[in-house]
């Protein structure tokens, strides 16, 4: 039994967003009443939308650190559609939407314009869903990385094209049912491809900062935003945002799913600088992938009688591979 007292201990450590016992300097921006609410109420996201939450979390932190100097460029997708249907917008920040596939390039333009105006203290964010990021806008993203433009790109990964009705994207996990990977044939749902790990691809560009984050860990998320904000040049943040509609999960389980994705190893939390992994957030309480998958209707076929057990095993293998590759478990509990 340890007798050592952790400095600043409170019952929830940094697992909760805030805590009345903690100084205002260590709690999350999200936990504070004067947070920017960059994305405000009245938006039309589904109940329990992870993407709406992730966007507010990330941008509020940017707002804090930039002293409210931010320009946001948004790709087409749920986040754009549910926030700005005429005649109302939910954004409280200067915000621009152009197209589905060009947000990184538009952001480059915004940034260049700010530079021309001598206003480089404004943080430029480009953001989009997984579809716009890993698929259609990927070329622009890579170009922005390669040029090392001073843009923080944020991908809100809900693992499919949600806005158009849940079709497969390059970020859709194997076996997941989507409208274009239906439950027919011998291997229902999405196929096992090679995957498209954009955080790693971003690292391969050697850009200053790359991190994965989750709405289930707001302090980690904010720390990563802060780290990104401490640097110039192209930076990439990939935030996992469960989507109750697309995943067939209960709205109340959004955070829980985000958490289980991390704890199962399916969604590794890591960060890297200039192409080198500099940190991983360890799994705290490891769970088998089943615990995560079972809460989502897009995976229920894996648990039906007669399901090919290789499919489930394949998903577990992905988690295991992540755990090994990133070293997600503390030595000892392997």
């Amino acid at each position: 039994m340890s007798t050592e007292l952790k400095p600043g201990f409170c019952q929830t450590g940094d697992l909760t967003a805030g805590n009345r016992l903690q100084s205002i300097d260590v709690v999350s921006v999200q936990s504070q009443e004067d947070r920017a609410n960059s994305l405000t109420s009245g938006h039309r996201a589904c109940q329990g939308c992870g993407e709406a939450l992730g966007a507010r979390m990330a941008i509020d932190k940017v707002m804090e650190l930039s002293k409210n100097k931010v320009h946001v460029v948004n790709a087409t997708g749920c986040l754009e559609v549910f926030t700005t249907p005429f005649p109302e917008t939910s954004w409280n920040v200067p915000w621009l939407h152009s197209l589905f596939g060009n947000a990184p390039a538009v952001a480059t333009g915004v940034q260049a314009a700010l530079k021309a105006k001598g206003m480089e203290d404004v943080t430029v964010i480009a953001q989009g869903g997984d579809g716009s990021t890993v698929d259609i806008g990927f070329g622009c993203l890579s170009g922005m990385f390669e040029r090392n433009d001073d843009v923080l790109y944020i991908c809100y990964d809900n693992e499919a094209y949600m806005n158009t009705g849940v079709q497969r994207s390059g970020a859709t996990p194997p076996t997941a049912r989507t409208a274009t990977t239906p439950l027919s044939g011998p291997h229902p749902g999405n196929n096992f491809g090679q995957g498209k790990n954009v955080p790693k691809i971003a690292m391969a560009h050697g850009i200053g900062y790359v991190a994965t984050a989750t709405i289930a860990n707001v302090r980690d998320l904010e720390a990563k935003v802060a780290k990104a904000m401490s640097m110039k040049g192209a930076r990439y943040l990939h935030i996992h945002v469960p989507c109750p509609l697309g995943w067939g999960s209960l709205p109340k389980d959004t955070i829980k799913l985000a958490r289980l994705a991390v704890e199962s190893g399916l969604y590794p939390l890591f960060e890297g600088e200039h192409g080198v992994i500099t940190g991983v957030t360890k799994i705290r309480k490891k769970v088998p992938v089943d615990e995560y998958l079972k809460l989502q209707r897009r995976f229920t076929h894996l648990f039906k009688k007669g399901a090919d057990t290789d499919d489930l095993a394949g998903v577990q293998a992905i988690a295991d591979a992540h755990i090994k590759y990133y070293g997600l478990l503390d030595d000892g509990d392997k």
């Binding site: 039994m1 007798t3 007292l5 952790k6 201990f9 409170c10 019952q11 929830t12 450590g13 697992l15 909760t16 967003a17 805030g18 805590n19 009345r20 016992l21 709690v27 999350s28 999200q30 936990s31 504070q32 009443e33 609410n37 994305l39 405000t40 109420s41 009245g42 938006h43 039309r44 996201a45 109940q47 329990g48 939308c49 992870g50 709406a52 939450l53 507010r56 979390m57 926030t83 700005t84 005429f86 005649p87 109302e88 917008t89 939910s90 954004w91 409280n92 920040v93 709405i215 707001v218 109750p244 209960l250 709205p251 109340k252 389980d253 959004t254 955070i255 829980k256 958490r259 309480k285």
Partner: protein, 544 residues
């Protein structure tokens, strides 16, 4: 909308506030306080979660005051209470419970160190007689005094405490702690009269002009058993033995070989006292096995550490030539001991009988209507009143779990009924909130953190002196341990609900002021409720 921007393609920031998404909702989240299991288990009815919460913030005086709403003796309880709260503590289902008693002790000691006091209400002009200066009597006296009544406590013993002093050994409860804590109550205005035995209660009430009486005379008559004895083995009743320990001129002589018969807490106190008195061998003899001993296991452990021999599944068949013949027992299917027919012998100069206590109810001689059982136990109604009007009772003398804390709880509750009785009012206890059971928590959010244990006196001193065995938590550790509390069922302002709402439908009212839900925008997703660590929120069906 003022058209200052290019029509439609450019929009005024924040304008979606016009869109009240609250009507999407079929269920609504609400905030509520649930009753934590620790509070439920506390016989004194302490609001443990609340004072732990204050302790977490370093507000020790407020924490102490919170305890004093229910229990005037935190320094005592922090030492002798069997802390059923900790058995109920939800944290027990994670790693181990919060060391509630140790923090309570810390707070009690802080109060003594700093002479914190509790204000009392204006004089009501009513006076109450309290018989028995044990925990039950002290508690009732304190509460009644605080309510503004004049209270006189009488006790046949020479000093305050009842079993706290004449039962519980000083290595568990140093007498200065007891005395100081009671001194505070005395200072509040309670009158104590010692060496005064009440033999005729009705007369005493009448003579003293009391408006009501509260009795907590305890159970002090040791139960005996007939065992053949050739007189070579000295027999002493446990309660008498322990009581005599407190009286300088009656210090008992035990000899070198001591056996204690019984398996309850009293038996444990006897063996451990015997060890400290210098006995060479101390045998604890119990008819069933260790698992079934009524004593708390932590007490058994402490005794074993102090070199006590445990003779489980044994009864004393006879005593002869300074030896005890022990019948070897086994448990039958129902768990009751039966003789195996085999025996063994051990040596003993003295056997202490720790077989339970009866109540000496003789003070009811001149009373009518009192309902007394065979063993002296006195029945009361749900308002702690005996069959005699204005005479209330509590503690060991009424049917109950015989613990200090139960007695204190009785004293408190009875005081509230007595107060109502004196004022001619009815007292109805506040309705209890639903339980903050473990399943209501989202324990993901609590850091894994083991209990910080109290320091223990080294074994040498434990076996040779009456120094207090368990030590204090220092301030930092006490606060740390308090902070392990998960605040079950009561918002501790972790800001999760506020943070996880994708619709910004929760309004933070500032630290200390909790939160409010903005139902204009709440879509009823339930995330806030799901991610509340402590179960302080609930989804309710929306009235459609």
């Amino acid at each position: 909308m003022a058209l200052t921007l290019p029509y439609a393609i450019t929009l005024e920031v924040g304008s979606s506030l016009e869109n009240k998404t609250g009507d999407w909702r079929t269920e609504r989240p609400i905030y509520l306080d649930r009753l934590p299991p620790c509070n439920i288990e506390c016989p004194a009815g302490e609001n443990i979660q609340a004072w732990l919460g204050l302790s977490q913030e370093g507000k020790y005086q407020e924490a102490w005051e919170e305890i004093l709403h229910n229990n005037p003796l935190p320094a005592v309880h922090g030492r002798v209470c069997y802390h059923p709260c900790e058995d109920g503590c939800n944290r027990k289902q994670m790693e181990n419970p919060v060391s509630i008693h140790a923090i309570e002790r810390f707070l009690g000691d802080e109060a003594l160190k700093n002479n914190w006091t509790i204000p009392k209400a204006a004089d009501t002009g009513k006076s109450v007689l309290v018989v028995g200066a044990g925990p039950g009597g002290i508690s009732a006296a304190y509460h009644l005094c605080k309510m503004g009544h004049k209270v006189t406590v009488v006790d046949s013993k020479p000093a305050v405490g009842g079993m706290l002093r004449y039962g519980i050994p000083s290595y568990r409860l140093p007498r200065d702690v007891l005395d100081s804590e009671v001194a505070h109550i005395e200072k509040m205005g309670v009158t104590f009269k010692f060496n005064t035995r009440i033999d005729n209660l009705a007369a005493s009430i009448k003579d003293g002009g009391y408006d009501a009486a509260f009795l907590a005379i305890g159970a002090h008559v040791g139960r005996s058993v007939e065992i053949p004895n050739d007189g070579s083995v000295k027999i002493i009743e446990a309660v008498k033995f322990l009581s005599d320990m407190e009286t300088e001129d009656k210090k008992p002589e035990l000899g070198k070989k001591v056996a204690v018969y019984g398996g309850g807490n009293t038996a444990i106190d006897c063996v451990r006292t015997a060890v400290r008195l210098g006995a060479d061998s101390v045998n604890l003899i119990y008819r069933r096995d260790r698992k079934n001993m009524p004593a708390h296991d932590f007490e058994v452990v402490e005794a074993l550490e102090e070199n006590v021999n445990l003779n489980e599944l044994r009864t004393i068949k006879e005593m002869k030539d300074g030896k005890l013949t022990l019948d070897i027992m086994e448990l039958n299917a129902e768990g009751w001991p039966e003789s195996t027919g085999k025996t063994e012998t051990i040596e003993a100069d003295t056997v202490l009988y720790a077989l339970g206590q009866l109540v000496d109810a003789s003070l009811f001689n001149d009373c009518t209507g009192i309902d007394v059982e065979k063993d002296g136990v006195t029945n009361v109604n749900d308002q702690f009143m005996t069959g005699m009007d204005g005479v209330f009772a509590g503690g060991d003398m009424i049917p109950s779990a015989r613990t200090v804390t139960t007695a204190v709880g009785h004293g408190k509750k009875a005081a509230r009924y007595i107060n109502a009785y004196l004022k001619g009012e009815a007292y109805t206890p506040a309705e209890k909130h639903e339980t903050a059971s473990f399943d209501k928590l989202n324990t993901w959010y609590y850091e894994d953190e083991d209990m910080r244990e109290q320091p223990v006196l080294d074994l040498k001193k434990r076996t040779t002196t009456f120094e207090e065995v368990l030590g204090d938590l220092d301030e930092a550790t006490a606060k740390y341990e308090a902070t392990r509390c998960m605040s079950c069922g009561n918002c501790f302002e972790c800001d999760n609900c506020y943070t996880v709402c994708p619709d910004n439908a929760i309004i933070k009212l500032g630290r200390g002021n909790r939160f409010e839900i903005n139902y204009d925008y709440c879509k009823g997703c339930g995330m806030c409720v799901e991610e509340c660590p402590c179960g302080s929120m609930l989804m309710e069906p929306e009235e459609l």
